[in-house]
Amino acid sequence: MSRRAIQLLDWTGRAAGLEDRQTFRNWVSEPYAVDCEPSYKPPCKAVQARLRGKSSTLSRLVMEPFFELTERLNIPASDVDMVFASRFGEIQVLETLFESIFTKDTVSPLDFCNSVHHTATGYASIASKNQQLSRTVSANEQTFGAALFEAYALVVTGKSNTVMVLAADEKVPELFRQEGHCECSFGVALAISAVDACTAFEATGRLRISYDDVVQAYQRAESPVDWLRRCALKNEGL
């Protein structure tokens, strides 16, 4: 069956020790050992101080690349749709809540609000005054590939003009930890949109994403970094 392609407009990310766009992109290109301190909190200067103070660490890991990318692309942050890809969600907040509940302390209402899986896009929507659609995707190690399916469906059906795929996870606390779980907190943003007949990929530095690229991301259970390394870096403009 002939499948429509979509395009990656641009991407960026953050992680501990990889705290600006170029450093992160260089690391994706040529990875090296980084200190995965879970306490890394991006500054999120684009977010109002009061909101920033309430938001979870994972939310900051989402908002920092989200605002950077919308600004770079000159797209109003209020206009994009969001697909949040997270395998573990607010796993650090959850551990804090368990401590509160099972040691009979008072449960913090803020911690509870911040424990829902999509907390990050909730804060991102408030910070950007975004009233568009926002979905989440979670599928164990296939989470990022599933998010690409979701973004693909939104774009090719014409539901979305621009989808921001926001992939983020935190270092998994010991209670929940298994082999293969996230060791390093990270946040990645990818701006995806439809392709039309006039799209000039080489001239614009954009990347054509075929349906097979999406299927392979899912079937190979690629992380966003794996996928970016395989797909995006073949185009030097990106």
């Binding site: 309430k54 449960v107 829902v116 899986h117 009233q131 926002s134 090719v156 059906t157």
Partner: protein, 396 residues
């Protein structure tokens, strides 16, 4: 538009869709059980009835949430198998919603760890608690090979999962998708909503001047969504974000109204076509105030009810269970609407809406029944589904 080939459900109303249908129209208010919060407050909750055990070879998925999912899957299994024979396994997807997934398994592991210093040997985060475990479990039950994932946006999870599932069909990625949602009672949600002061100590009382909050429930509903255009259809849906507050809805219901408007557009129906709205209707002061305003502006003449007093607020599964309630009504040969259950003391501070009663029916001469189901969540995450008969379909 995507056809609902079959659906199964479990909640306090009953262990199957047929039991739920009988109880719904018999207007039976199920008994509630009780849970104690960390601060010692006792609150009523709605537990699902008999939950089946998992087959032994699925024991790695053992948790309350997956057992509820299994109860729903058993009801749609024959339809899934019949459909799967006609399509390639990679064209069968699974998209489910949940806010809890198998949190109870991690809660148990935490308690054991705290008391003994060791995690239980049987604990497995990936297959019991991870959000993805729910869709992975149902994928294995069904032998599906298409995209499988879980949507988690708190109380709108299942409704949004159904729109994601429809998107996979519309985009040509899948020919059929098992969708819906499941949520289970656990300490985290009871304590969390308790901390927010949103739990009622009595049966929830939506739209009443005496309303004092919600009761948490559990359950699920699974649908087999296909390209078939006969029978009850998921006609479309609309989504929005309030962009207002993490746990409080925008007070005038602007975001809710936006989702409902987008749902009408997506389903290609007009406001006058919608004959019934299943309200989010949580009986909190804030939800009922904003939702009635939104409905009054968009669908002022449409019959409404909240079915949550029958099975509680099932959080991440609410959108699916209430869509199933809509399907039961849409297919009902007597044309009965789900009645609104409360103490009869309508809050005069709220805009007046026509409440569905036990005598309410679809309008005489109705050619095509169309209904809406609302789900609103933390983070201002709103979703409205439009369900109805296909234009060409004939009622049984």
């Amino acid at each position: 538009m995507a056809g609902i080939a079959d659906f199964g459900m479990i909640c306090a109303l009953g262990a199957t869709a047929s039991e739920c249908s009988e109880a719904l129209f018999a207007n039976i208010l199920p008994q509630m059980s009780q849970r104690e919060t960390a601060d010692g407050t006792v609150v009523p909750v709605f537990e699902a009835p008999v939950i089946p055990a998992l087959p032994e070879h699925f024991s790695v998925y053992e948790c309350r949430n997956n057992r509820l999912a299994f109860a729903c899957y058993q009801q749609v299994e024959s339809a899934v198998r019949a459909h799967a024979e006609r399509i390639s396994p990679d064209r069968l997807g699974v998209v489910l919603g949940s806010s809890t997934s198998g949190l109870d398994a991690s809660e148990f592991a935490f308690e054991v760890l705290r008391q003994t210093g060791y995690r239980p040997d049987t604990y497995n985060f990936d297959t019991q608690h991870a959000m993805g475990s729910l869709s992975q479990f149902v994928t294995e039950l069904a032998g599906a090979k298409g995209p499988a994932y879980t949507v988690s946006t708190a109380c709108s999870s299942a409704a949004k999962a159904m729109l994601s599932a429809k998107g996979l069909i519309d985009a040509g990625i899948c020919d059929a998708v098992i969708t819906g949602g499941v949520d289970s009672l656990c300490a985290l949600t009871v304590n969390g909503f308790g901390a927010l002061g949103q739990l009622s100590t009595e049966r929830m009382n939506p739209l009443s001047k005496n309303r004092s909050g919600l009761n948490i429930g559990e359950g699920g509903a699974l649908f087999l969504l296909t390209r078939d255009s006969a029978g009850v259809q998921l006609l479309g849906g609309g989504e929005s974000m309030d962009a207002y507050h993490m746990s409080a809805p925008q007070p005038e219901g602007v975001g809710a109204e936006l989702a409902m408007k987008r749902a009408l557009d997506d389903a290609a129906v007009c406001a006058a076509d919608v004959m019934y709205v299943n309200l989010h209707g949580t009986a909190t002061r804030a939800n009922d105030a904003m939702e009635t305003q939104a409905v009054k502006r968009l669908l002022p003449e449409t019959m409404v009810s909240s079915s949550k007093p029958l099975f509680g607020h099932c959080l991440g599964a609410a959108g699916a269970i209430e869509a199933a309630i809509c399907c039961i009504s849409l297919a009902d040969t007597q044309g009965r609407l789900p009645a609104h259950h409360f103490d009869g003391s309508y809050d005069t501070q709220l805009p007046v809406l026509p409440l569905a009663s036990v005598k309410s029916r679809y309008r005489d001469g109705t050619i095509r029944r169309v209904v809406m189901s609302n789900s609103f969540a933390f983070g201002g995450n709103n979703c409205a589904l439009v369900l109805g008969e296909s234009e060409k379909g004939e009622r049984e």
